[in-house]
């Protein structure tokens, strides 16, 4: 996408932002309709530019891990929204056959090494992917996406140190949405200039305005190119989490005035305005894109709702590889004991 001429590139950014925004809105809708597996759903509305701007520079062979708020990253990287929505519904037709859900989506084909429900838990995997790229002499980059909450986790710094020490093709992307659950960033870090932490480790550190997808894409492009050449980087994308931490969170820790102000940093609104002001697209052309995205995401909800729940015999599958000794079901054990 990043090599395309400006008008098609900017239009594609807009379309991708809109796809992420609409997908997340549909997840909320699916929840209200009782179609999701549980309520542990973390939406990335307001944070779309990080997902779109960084993944625009990723391709075949590249890999990444995400945090628990990672729907948008995977979608922007090329995921099928049907299979994503089905996974969020806990359906057999989902990416992980209904075993992982919103917080554990992964896909070997697209190099998605997994969303993670442990804050910071997926970060060191990109070091291993970087070692693989070096071992197999590939040009692959591996990107760890996480939030500002993970910026306070120790394993991040272990990983940053190794990436710089070993000159690995890795990029750390801190999506700074201002909140770790209900704790605002200035209540969890004395200094919030995280890019300075990165440069202190010997990484390339940069910061980008998550309200502007083109700026994010520009900075991310430079960092990813450098990372492929062995200069690992760290990118902070500043944005605002438009909604609560998860579906049940009514945000009692912040007031309406703050939310109104925060939502002004809307990358989708800016990109639409830009396309129209620069005469790259007309109002009606923007609306046409929106209609096609709406259709796509409505279809994803339908696909998820039609999905079947996994059969009970899936319960014991995939704990270990096929053909390996599998766990014994409790009832089977009891029956065996009492039969003797």
């Amino acid at each position: 996408m990043n090599d395309a001429p400006r008008n098609s590139r900017s239009t594609e950014y807009y379309r991708q932002l809109l796809r992420v925004r609409t997908f997340e809105e549909r997840v909320g809708e699916l929840f209200v309709r009782g179609g999701t597996a549980g309520s542990m759903l973390h939406l990335s509305i307001g944070e779309e530019a990080a997902a779109v701007g960084v993944t625009a520079h990723m391709g075949d062979g590249d890999s990444f891990t995400t945090h628990h708020r990672g729907h948008g990253i995977f979608l922007a990287r090329g995921a099928d929204p049907n299979r994503m929505m089905a996974e969020i519904a806990g359906a057999e037709s989902g990416y992980c056959a209904g075993k992982g859900g919103s917080m554990h989506i992964a896909d070997r084909e697209l190099g998605h090494l997994g969303a993670n429900a442990i804050v910071g838990g997926g970060i060191p995997a990109v070091i291993g992917a970087g070692l693989s790229a070096r071992h197999f002499k590939s040009n692959a980059v591996s990107v760890a996406f996480f939030g500002d909450g993970a910026a306070q986790q120790g394993v991040l710094y272990e990983s940053m140190n190794m990436a710089a020490l070993w000159s690995l093709p890795c990029l750390f992307v801190c999506i700074n949405n201002q909140y770790g659950m209900g704790t605002k960033i200035d209540r969890s870090a004395a200094r919030t200039e995280f890019e300075d932490r990165a440069t202190a480790f010997g990484l390339r550190g940069a910061r980008a305005d998550g309200g502007d997808v083109e700026k994010v894409a520009e900075v991310a492009g430079e960092l990813i190119e450098a990372a492929r050449a062995g200069a690992a980087g760290f990118l902070v994308v500043d944005c605002y989490r438009f909604h609560g931490h998860a579906r049940m969170d009514k945000s009692p820790y912040r007031d309406d005035a703050e939310e109104t102000e925060g939502r002004k940093t809307d990358p989708l609104a800016l990109q639409r305005r830009r396309l129209i002001e620069d005469a790259l697209l007309s109002e009606s052309q923007c609306d046409e894109i929106a209609e096609s995205v709406t259709e796509e995401m409505d279809a994803a909800v339908d696909f998820a709702i039609k999905g079947r729940q996994p059969a009970q015999d899936a319960l014991f599958q995939d704990v270990y590889a096929p053909g390996q000794p599998a766990p014994e079901p409790v009832d089977q054990r009891i029956a065996k004991v009492l039969a003797e």
Partner: protein
Amino acid sequence: MSEPIEFTYRDALRLALRDAMTADSSIIVIGEEVGLYGGAYGVTKGLIDDFGPERLIDTPISEAGLVGAAVGAAMTGLRPVAELMYVDFIGLAMDQIANQAAKIRYMFGGQIGVPMLLRTQGGTGRSGAAQHSQSLEAWIMHTPGLRLAMPATVTDAYVLLRHALTLPDPTVFIEHKALYTQKGILDREQPADWGQAKVLRAGSDLTIVTYSRMVHFALEAAGSLADDGIDAEVIDLRTLNPLDRETIVASVAKTGRALVVTEDTLTAGVSAEIAAILQEEAFDWLEEPVIRLAGEDIPIPVAPELEAGSIPSPARIISTARKLMRR
């Protein structure tokens, strides 16, 4: 090998790594002091000369990071051997082991496996005190998704490690620090028999179920018991996941008495699981309650005599076996 060659447990482990790395170029070793230093207990000594620093990767002191890196490497085509210098350090890496490596295949619907090996060592014997002497295998055994091997003999050190380096799932391999200098005849051609316990001494009066260093204590005790006319069968579990229930149940069905000996602590330990299995599956044959001789429920102290008192000894295996035989 035409002539039987005597090896130490440490040398057998190193040979297994060397042979495996020669056969499989996707194997890397990653850990603290594994390269230039050659491993804190010398297991990887010299391997960096054969395979270079890109396959023997010395890491910073970052246990979570290095184990997490192994997880990511395993997901992207390598077969990493992550070395934790002491099993006691596993707390620092436990998220990567229990929440990541162990669950990835299942959470992701079977599409991605984590063929990594976590090599480490545990146990008492060197006055390492409370943070360098523990036996934490129950933590691993308690976590679905992980395999676990704990070799007691020179040949098992070799064949179980070679086999572990062919498995598709994350495997923990816990050596015993007091066994590194143990000598024995290495039979590299012996089948790994992964997941199968072995009867190392046949007997008819009671069954001693154990693994790792306690195998040697049990065999020593069994020799003395025989002089007293007590015929003990000694079973080495070898792998704790998979756990060979059939062999121990069959043995207790024969002897009617079971003594489970472990170095790890008593409460909610490996001995508790073995005892539960025996009361479930060998209930009808038990002449006496299953007896557990385990590590005491205390931190390990540094003073050598206190350290020795915190775990079973051959003398206590003998005295406990005699009590169990009502002798």
